[in-house]
Point group: C2
Chain length 148, copies 2
């Protein structure tokens, strides 16, 4: 019941892009060094984000990554889904597909359904824009504390 590092790294990378939204392409190495993530590994995550349509790229010199939408229009749910495949706590709560054969008699399923809806609510209503604003605030507070 853990998010893999993909989720955390990927969210941090997307927030990094959000902080520079409007400033043109941001290179992989810039994001990687800023966030302290292996460049080669981050590249894989960026590939997933690109496939999901969350980021786009420009190639060649001075190329890099950009968000396809404004930060406030990106939910963390879509980012996590792109990176982790799914945010379902068990397979059988997914819409449609792989509900196990004895779902209707599984005594744990009602719990998981309820839990999943709560989780999805949080993830769907939180946006990258919010995370970014919070992060900027947090950095300011640290700076103030450092100066005093």
């Amino acid at each position: 019941m853990k998010f893999s590092t993909k989720g955390t790294y990927g969210l941090r990378a997307v927030v990094e892009l959000a902080m520079r939204y409007g400033d043109g392409p941001v290179s992989l190495s810039a994001v990687a060094t800023e966030q302290g993530i292996s460049e080669a590994y981050l590249e894989q995550l960026m590939r997933s984000l690109k496939t999901a349509g969350i980021v786009k790229t420009t190639r060649g010199k001075s190329g890099g990554y950009l968000l396809t939408k404004e930060p406030a229009a990106i939910s963390v749910l879509e980012v996590l889904r792109a990176l982790e495949g799914s945010t379902d706590v068990v397979d059988c709560v997914g819409s449609g597909a792989n509900v196990c054969e004895n779902a209707c008699t599984c005594s744990a399923r009602p719990l998981f359904l309820k839990l999943q809806s709560r989780i999805n609510a949080v993830l769907a209503e939180t946006t990258i824009g919010e995370l970014t604003e919070d992060h900027i605030e947090q950095k300011k507070r640290i700076e103030h504390a450092r100066l005093s």
Copy 2:
């Protein structure tokens, strides 16, 4: 971000014991066949539950497993923790210990903290007693549908 089968199997096993609460020890094989779980595997899970103090045992012939408390006094949180080790979505939201060094500058952490508190709320407030009652209701409905 998945619960392993341990969580699901274990919850189902505990509900099975709850349904027979007060009837004396229930054998491993009874729980295993009733729930369609491998006996040898279930035994491991039961050991975890015993270590956590959720079930107790009597050995020898006609021995078996019993809940240590009444079903309504057992939260699913404690059951899942016993089986999965922790229900934290990332290590750094845990109380105290392994908060990563740059926690205070991690842009994803506020999200995870919020998410974790919502998850814990659901898991802590839901009891085995509730799951058991729901399950009994569900079985009744199926029986009615079958007869008509």
